[in-house]
Amino acid sequence: MLRVDIEKQLGEFSLQATFTSEGRVIGLFGASGAGKSSLVNMIAGLLRPDRGTIVIDGETVDDTAAGIHVPTYRRRIGYVFQDARLFPHLNVAQNLDYGRRMNGLAPDPAQHKRIIDLLDIGALLDRRPGKLSGGERQRVALGRALLSKPRLLLLDEPLGALDEGRKLEILPYLVRLRDEANVPMVYVSHDVAELRQLATQIVMLKQGRVTSFGGVKVLT
């Protein structure tokens, strides 16, 4: 599903990661500054590795030796950022529809309804992002990413900007997503409890290196 073998120098910091995963939810675990976000940005194509390969769903999206670098917009990934990044000039419905329009996909009312129900955002459709709470924004961002029909969903600390109460409000949605949406995910977090609940496989990063890889039990 996802194969990563990369090296990247970012100033003083060097990142080197190799792993292959077939897991439904790959948990990328590490302290802040361990290189988690850089790694995810490389999978997304927002950052280019100095050396190595990245394969998503059988397609090589990066291969420095062969000079392959598929631009982000052609990778068919979904990306949920810590800060939601909803488009302020569009309402919730237009934000949700954005990925479908940009990819030239036909409307899929069944999937549309399923995801809106799954995330409980039906009542927000007419609102502008500025009028949403942090938790609502994050749910809309999740829906927006899913509705672009990605083959891999990247979540970079999606609960990081929320307080404890809000986290508990969103977590069940993520669990449902894992069990029902059928999209493999890379879930970045420094929170052991979150990953225990969600991840099926763990990649542990420490100062730019993969220190362990395996089932959720490596977290203990």
Partner: protein, 231 residues
């Protein structure tokens, strides 16, 4: 005193036409340049920036004279355009529009550039992860978010264009009905005995137009802030 004569109407309508055309033609160039200056570093950027601002600080008569040399019938560009495309600028209202466009360009570009610089580029990244190619990102995220700044630039450019005098009169002279705008009409009237009342009316109209434009530009700028904060 408040009766506007046909000759004055002619000048007012000509000014409006010249300023509208100048603004509309300058806008796409303004957006492109604003984007280039806001988003890219390239060799000669400071020089390009200086050239764009030059009409703001050069004596207008110098700009007008340079336009005459370049776009006059015997000018390098003007001769070519007249011969092959049939477009003549010298002593025509189109020349007045060109002069106004050049003179107002710095004012038109500035708010556009500022509003593009103010856009959170992470939003553009998000658009890209959703499958938008760079040109689609520009038209669906960058431009809509910059729109209030684009409109503010257009309004300011329009206000400057409608009042332009020095470069216009140098380049295309002061021909009633063809190149005599409000400004050049005022200039003629205050040199004529008994022209004071007519000049006064045109002065009032100039002030109203300029004030209206400034208020409109301010309003657009406030909208921009609101838009960027998602309310």
């Amino acid at each position: 005193m408040l009766e506007i004569s046909p000759a004055e109407w002619t000048a007012i309508l000509l000014s409006l036409r010249v300023a509208v055309i100048a603004t509309l033609v300058a806008t796409p160039f303004g957006i492109a340049l604003a984007w280039l200056l806001a988003r890219h570093d390239f060799w000669g950027k400071s020089f390009l920036d200086a050239v764009v601002h030059l009409p703001l600080v050069l004596p207008p008569v110098v700009t007008g004279y340079l336009l005459l040399l370049t776009f006059g019938r015997k000018g390098l560009v003007g001769g070519f355009l007249a011969e092959y495309l049939g477009i003549v600028f010298a002593f025509r209202w189109t020349g007045a529009a060109l002069a106004c466009g050049v003179m107002s360009f710095p004012l038109l570009v500035r708010p556009m550039r500022l509003s593009i610089e103010a856009i959170d580029r992470r939003l553009e990244q998000a658009a890209e992860t959703l499958g938008a190619a760079p040109w689609k990102v520009f038209f669906t995220v960058t431009l809509p978010l910059a729109l209030p700044g684009v409109l503010a630039g257009m309004v300011l450019g329009f206000a400057k264009a409608i009042g332009e005098f020095g470069a216009t009169i140098t380049f295309v002279s002061n021909i009633p009905g063809e190149t005599q705008t409000i400004s050049s009409a005022i200039y003629s009237l205050i040199q004529t005995p008994d022209g004071d009342a007519a000049a006064g009316r045109l002065v009032i109209i100039s002030i109203v137009l300029a004030m209206g434009a400034l208020i409109a530009a301010e309003w657009f700028a406030r909208r921009a802030t609101k838009r960027l904060h998602g309310n």
